[in-house]
Amino acid sequence: MKRKMVSVLLTAVMAASVLAGCGNSESADTAATDAKSADSAAVAESTSAEAAETANTAATQAAGGSYSYAAGSYDGVKITMLNTKSEIQDQLEAAAEKWGELTGATLDVYTISSDAESPAEEIATKYAAGDAPTLIMGDPQDVYSICKEKGVDLSDQPWVSVGGSQYGITNNDKVYSFPFCIEGRGLIYNASAIEKVTGTAFDPSTIKSMDDFTALLDKLVAGGMQYPISVNCEDWSLAGHYMTQVYEMQNGATSLSNDLIDQLYAGTADLNSNPVFTEMFDTFDVLKKYNINQKDPMSADRDESGTDLAEGTIAFWFDGCWAWDTMQDSYDNSSNIGIMPIPVNDTTGNANIGSYICGSPTKQVMIDKEDSDEKQQAAAKDFLNWLVFSQDGQNVLVNECSLVPAFTNITAEATNPLAKSVQQYSAAGKLFPGYINYPSDHWQKVGAIMQQYLAGKIDRAEFAKEVQAYWSALKK
């Protein structure tokens, strides 16, 4: 315990010294933060007329926010960014180039293949090599586990007040990460395809329970859509997204409760008699029953599923708003596509189950302080500010990358139907957050068990038992 305290203190001192160092450098962002309300100071900071113009437009854009972006000058500074959303790699590269022209810095964005590696593995490898990227985009739990030791304290950044403190990763009241986007997951539906088969208008809010859902599915089958659903076989989708909702919905899908997770660690949980587990897996059985890949569930292909849904071959698919990437080529703009909650026969008596979807900042960007010098850190901060407060940056987030930004000063409407859908839930306050502190191999190990359940190799009692065995074997 004592040693822990010492290390916490040391980290704090180090963070403080790094910040002090930042203050001394000529970095524009610190200067700009000081001049929060003075637009003129921000303009004076700009190095070129073009930059000044951008800053001005950004200032008018940032309605309500008192900060306006002014590009700093970072000639010759080279930074790298780990991008773990491979589907927006091209857009980010273009954005990095644009920002580079403004500031003179070089930002090299690279990505990893999401099939082969998890962000956690990549981050650990890079730190082991002493070559960590300055900007690290990771899943929340990855950033959470290392931010205190490796991350720059970002509490003083201007975007903290417009959403950063709410959605970023905080530790000891310090903000350590930049929430890159809000993502929601749930059942993706194609309303137009459903209407075509059933002949009646489809309103996702009328599907209140699993029984409603099954009735609709039977109607679809009777109408000629033999298999209305696609179920992913990927471990991250099964255990990282579907199974996790069992933990996250324990408390009625509004606030997180760690009770079940604590019990699982302690080995005292009985998953199979847990009401949320039961209702979620009753619905999972329905998904399995109508699954288009049911002959060979383990060969499901996400690209195919996305195309099928966009074209209306299937009506439902459990995935998330990032799945837009798989559909955009086959989407013809006429279908009404959106995300709805997983319909369950709720026995917990909570009204929120069935009207909330899980949505949270799924990608967090932290700035490394271990392998990056002060100049690089300052440039990295500048890039993040550019994304939030400049018109070009906002354009990158919303239009180019089709994301739902986590910041209130960005008012632009999302550009694709899935993101729009998430934005609507967000505006209505109907998002429940994902839990960020899962064991880092949960999605892999539990995913393998859930794949067996999906393929019908084990029954639900065995599944529950093996998941419990996984948790109780962990060292907390």
Partner: protein, 292 residues
Amino acid sequence: MQREKTFGQKLRLYLMFAGPATFAFLAVVIIPFLYGAFLTFTSWDGISNAKPFVGLENYIAVMKDTDFWKSLWLTIRYMVISVILVNAIAFMLALLVTGKIRGKNFFRAGFFIPNLIGGIILGYIWQFVFDKALVFILNQIGIDSISMLSTEVGAFWALVIVTVWQYSGYMMLIYIAGLTGVSTDLLEAGKIDGCTDHQTTRYIVLPLMTQSFTICLFLTITRCFMVYDLNLSLTAGGPYGSTTLAAMSVYEKAFAAKQYGQGQTEAVVLFIITAIVAVAQAKMGKSKEVEA
């Protein structure tokens, strides 16, 4: 007259000829190995600055880690089957392309080409073959089938098939060298003494090329033990984690489960087992070698 060299002279000579190689070997093999061995006594998570010393705890944990032993047992089965098939097929191919057929060089190049494709790409290509192409063809000719990679047994054999396809050409090359290295004098002498083709191969060629077998077996055994790239890109350990071979298990323990210390310990155990098998095999092979 040759005078005895002093130690200094010997050292200088050694450094001049073997210095760079020794340095490289130290830097990329010996030092990382020792550092890795040190890490097995810590509970390092792979990313933090703290490396707490835990003594033999990791070794005890490895003994109890059923997942690791399961993957090691799987690796041994995979290794035995692959080694037999690779070498049998490679030797046949070598006999074929050193015999009296047309277009020898074309066939040699053809059989060797798979070895030029890297493991990752190879895995993705074959994944497509097993998942899509094969299923499509079988369904077209009326056989209702699912992807080989979706079943545990199928995925295991898929790994074996691709390994055989990848390495046979390479081993064939070594066998060709062995076959053509046998002096024609001996073959002619055998012929004069009335050997049939079969007898020539069995009693003259084979004993003289034992060395090739030793090399090929050594290479295939160690490669199969350590395979990771193919495993990752072809099956990614699936379905349901049933084809996680030892190297992948080590990697997952170290990086996905963030237990670097224990992962490193598993790597050391894997190294020891591989070393024992490979050295024993090389020793046995050596004792069978004959010279003309």
